[in-house]
Amino acid sequence: MVQFLKILPISAKIGTVTVMYPYDRPLVTESFRGAIEVDPDKCIGCGACTRICPPKALSFIQEGETLILRYFVGRCIFCGMCADTCPEKAIKITKEFELASDQIYELYSDVQHSLSICRKCGKKFVTRKLMNKVKNLVKELPEELLELCPNCRRIESLLRTTTTR
């Protein structure tokens, strides 16, 4: 009959469980995935992360001579797929969750890459860093061929094979 009164001793025993955040430490565990951080030194602008990102929070934007890897934390779902995919391990998952802001533009962060320009047609195609990386990796191809955009390269290599024959 009066069993519902028993909640009072239970409450008295437990007291308050409130965590006094922001004056106290938050209840974040060691495996929490927060916002990501792109290491500008390691990032080569290959775009693997932009292709895997489910909500397209990471995207490329071309601005004149530069290619911008834009991270919009307001759209990020904190899945960490980009960090798993990044070939250069340039993306780090932090425990940051205090991201609130009163301006939407504050939620963007950009990594700016300079683009390499095709020697022949002047088209901008990949980032310089990716180009350098490829140059180091692929030794057998001549350097001047690598500095052409895919289209020009096809034509150039075709021309070369015909001339050598």
């Binding site: 519902f4 009164l5 909640i7 009072l8 409450s11 437990i14 007291g15 308050t16 469980v17 409130t18 006094m20």
Partner: protein
């Protein structure tokens, strides 16, 4: 009347004006503790809420235009009641009118405040508000009649018999407290504001300063309600502990204690349903009356 008494009355009235929101703050704190949380940081939280509401934009939709009138009258009446109660307790020795006329005055004023609130609720054309109003009416039908009945019975058990009967007094006073509890619209019976189905029900359309005034009025009324039975007891038992100002102090302390007990009870109960509530109330009150009559007859035959 002495100067100290006048000062005490003045103090009591100002207590009536300032204390209800603070009591509500304490109630919220108690509630939070039972729910194992921290609750509001100060007991002045309700005051801050009311002051904030007063500074907000005033929106009055065309359908609730006339609500200011009942609200202002009801505030006036509540303050009037606070003054009357203070005077009444301060002058237990030299009452102007017989005690039962004061009881009748309290009762009539309380009921008219409730009626004005009904007017306030119904003046909004919102469906939820109207349903809420009808719920209050059906509860009040059961409750206010018994409120009056037990008020009478309490007085009867003290005076009509040649000697005061403590058992009769308790048997009528406890149902009176229940009636006060229901009248103050605490949890199992706050059906007009039932959040889950009615979305704050009867006050759904009020906003800004009007809401602030209403909340203040409601709190004041709640505190007055709890202090009325205390005041009546003090009169009936011809309490005499020296100075009149101590009487007033007693009044406020006991009222606050009852208020706190009420708030604990409301925290550990769920919300009733209108048909259930009506049935339970009728059942409790009729049982109480039957028992009272039974004991009365039993004592008479002895």
């Amino acid at each position: 009347m002495e100067l100290t008494t006048i000062l005490a009355i003045f103090l009591s009235i100002s207590l009536y004006i300032f204390i209800p929101p603070i009591l509500d703050g304490i109630e919220r704190k108690i509630k939070a503790n039972i729910q194992t949380r921290y609750g509001p940081s100060t007991i002045f939280q309700t005051w801050y809420d009311i002051l904030k509401l007063m500074s907000k934009e005033l929106i009055i939709s065309t359908e609730v235009r006339y609500l200011i009138l009942p609200l202002s009258i009801s505030i006036t009446l509540t303050l009037f009641l606070a003054i009357v109660v203070s005077f009444y307790v301060a002058s237990t020795k030299s009452l102007l009118l017989p005690y039962y006329s004061y009881a009748a005055l309290f009762l009539v004023t309380m009921i008219s405040i409730h009626a004005l609130h009904l007017l306030l609720y119904i003046s909004s054309a919102n469906l939820f508000s109207i349903i809420g109003t009808f719920r209050i009416i059906s509860i009040d039908v059961a409750n206010e009649v018994s409120f009056a009945t037990f008020l009478v019975l309490t007085m009867v058990s003290r005076y009509v018999n040649s000697s005061a009967s403590l058992s009769l007094f308790i048997l009528s006073f406890i149902p009176l407290l229940i009636a006060v509890y229901v009248s103050s619209r605490r949890l199992p019976y706050d059906l007009h504001e039932a959040e889950p189905e009615l979305a704050s029900g009867s006050i759904i359309e009020l906003s800004g300063p009007i809401l602030g005034l209403y909340i203040y009025n409601h709190l004041l009324e709640k505190y007055l309600l709890t202090s009325i039975p205390v005041a009546l007891i003090m009169l009936m038992f011809e309490l005499n502990v020296g100075n009149q100002s101590i009487h007033l102090l007693f009044l406020h302390i006991f009222a606050a204690i009852i208020y706190m007990v009420f708030s604990i009870v409301s925290t550990i109960l769920g919300r009733s349903r209108i048909d259930l509530a009506f049935k339970t109330l009728i059942l409790i009150y009729s049982l109480a009356i039957i028992i009272w009559i039974g004991v009365y007859i039993f004592e008479q035959t002895l």
